[in-house]
């Protein structure tokens, strides 16, 4: 058998190319170095990284996420009541690697928009388009005494070790003890989350510590989300004392006491203080936030920052769209942003796609409620078409939520 000479190869490869009609080969070579960097491997960032690769596998995608584990915030309130384990909410990033996403388990130190690069320690990573999905950070300074005590006063608002610690504190509470939880002023991550948490803690206390009670100090004037449904649920819990317009101003860890804006002092045995929030620090440092210094305004079609070209922001860090800061919305933004980024890198008009939202809240060990939001894009802006609530709590809705989580976790990471 004759060996393949260079001349033969060129002849044959020319024929092969002609057979395949590979007129696009030069463009492949030209486009091969296009790079997308994604900061943050939560619901938005992980989805965006995966869907850029799915939409155009010739684009190089690098995901920066310090954690090797993805822990779902949705369903973490169930862990507090002993109805779910954190292990069942913990996943890894191997699925994204199968799509060709390069993952670096490191934190982005800074964004340099003028040089189109992200600094990681002493190293840096260049991008053609950057997707920032930084989630939220806490405004500790908004509550007097919190910055000094933040390691001992649990928020459990980022699922992980604090979720387990708070569950243990609730388990250790003597029967007759008082649990206080606080709801931050809007906007914050997961609008119905605090009320789901209140329901689950009240259910747990009712079942396990019948002499105990839960006091909910809400900074807002009323229940922020699924209002009617939660009001009906709260009637099930005689041990739940819901107090609106009670913004927490101060915490005294020594005295085990919080002070609210009207001046009320409330004693606790277990405290769950959910602090006021803003976009993740990297977005603030890179000046992606607006005048409020808290949240990032974006284009409603491409999610490109209104402040920085070639940088897109998705998920809880965004503001201005009539959507909740939910995992479902972050997942939708991740997919829509991915298609926009691919279109822009290929010199095409980005498709106009509206997000959607389905949000379940468990209210006891077996039942849940839900809200569904449908949106459209009108004159370049996301507008809500309809919002529908489930008629009430039911086992069927809780079962649907389990199907939803299996689907969406797979959509984000699978």
């Amino acid at each position: 058998m004759k060996t393949l000479t260079r001349r033969t190869f060129l002849k044959v490869s020319g024929l092969g190319a002609a057979l395949l009609g590979v007129g696009r080969l030069p463009s492949f070579a030209a486009e091969a170095r296009r790079r997308v960097v994604v900061i943050g491997g939560g619901w938005g960032g992980a989805t965006a990284a995966k869907y850029v690769r799915l939409t155009d596998p010739s684009i190089e995608v690098t995901l920066l996420e310090p954690s090797k584990q993805f822990i779902s915030c949705p369903f973490s309130n169930l862990v507090l009541a002993g109805v779910e384990s954190l292990k069942n909410l913990t996943m890894n990033y191997n699925g994204l690697r199968k799509h060709g996403v390069k993952i670096r388990h490191e934190a982005a130190a800074a964004i340099e928009p003028d040089k189109k690069r992200v600094r990681i320690g002493k190293d840096s990573l260049e991008y053609d388009r950057l997707v920032v999905s930084p989630g939220i950070d806490f405004q500790w300074e908004q509550v007097e005494g919190l910055a000094q005590a933040k390691d001992t006063v649990l928020h459990a608002w980022k699922a992980g070790p604090q979720t387990v610690q708070l569950a243990k504190q609730l388990q250790s509470l003597p029967d007759g003890g008082v649990v206080v939880m606080t709801v931050p002023p809007v906007a914050y991550r997961c609008p119905p989350g605090p009320y789901e948490r209140a329901s689950m803690i009240a259910w747990y206390l009712q079942a396990k510590k019948p002499k105990s009670k839960l006091i909910v100090l809400d900074a807002n004037k009323d229940i922020v989300s699924k209002t009617g449904l939660f009001k009906a649920v709260f009637k099930d819990y005689a041990n739940l004392d819901y107090r609106p317009s009670q913004k927490v101003e101060k915490i005294d860890v020594g005295a085990k006491e919080v002070t609210t804006e009207p001046g009320d002092k409330v004693k606790y045995d277990v405290i769950n203080l959910i602090p006021p929030q803003r976009a993740g620090a990297i977005a603030v440092d890179a000046d992606l936030v607006g005048g409020d210094k808290r949240w990032c305004e974006v284009d409603h079609v491409t999610y490109e920052s209104v402040k920085q070209k070639n940088i897109h922001v998705i998920g809880d860090a965004t503001i201005g769209l009539p959507v909740p800061k939910s995992g479902n919305v972050a997942n939708a933004m991740g997919k829509i942003c991915a298609t926009a980024v691919v279109s822009l890198l290929n010199g095409k008009e980005p498709p106009v796609i509206a997000p959607g939202n389905t949000c379940y809240s468990w209210v006891n060990d077996k039942e849940a409620i839900a809200v569904v939001n449908a949106y459209k894009i009108e004159n370049g802006k996301v507008v809500q078409i309809e919002q529908k609530l489930t008629p009430g709590k039911s086992v069927a809705v809780a079962q649907n939520s389990l199907a939803w989580r299996a689907s969406i976790w797979n959509d984000v990471l699978g």
Partner: protein, 86 residues
Amino acid sequence: MRKSLLMSLVVTSFVLMLAAFNAEAGPLDSAGAQKSLVCSACHGFAGNAPGNTVPILAGINAAYFKKAIKDYTEGKRTSPEMEPRV
């Protein structure tokens, strides 16, 4: 010679096919895929819902799918999750 040419043609074509595959748009770069982009949150990646209470859309009969959507629109089939979306 003829055999080796044929073999090199096959190999080269395969290599180029891989290159062409990579250079091509991905499976989601179509109008239909973009329209159904948000559906995968509940119905699973590529329509393969792993849960037992959400319909699997992958491979669904088109006529059946159309009827289901029409039934939601007309209130013949109820679902809080689907009604606002149709």
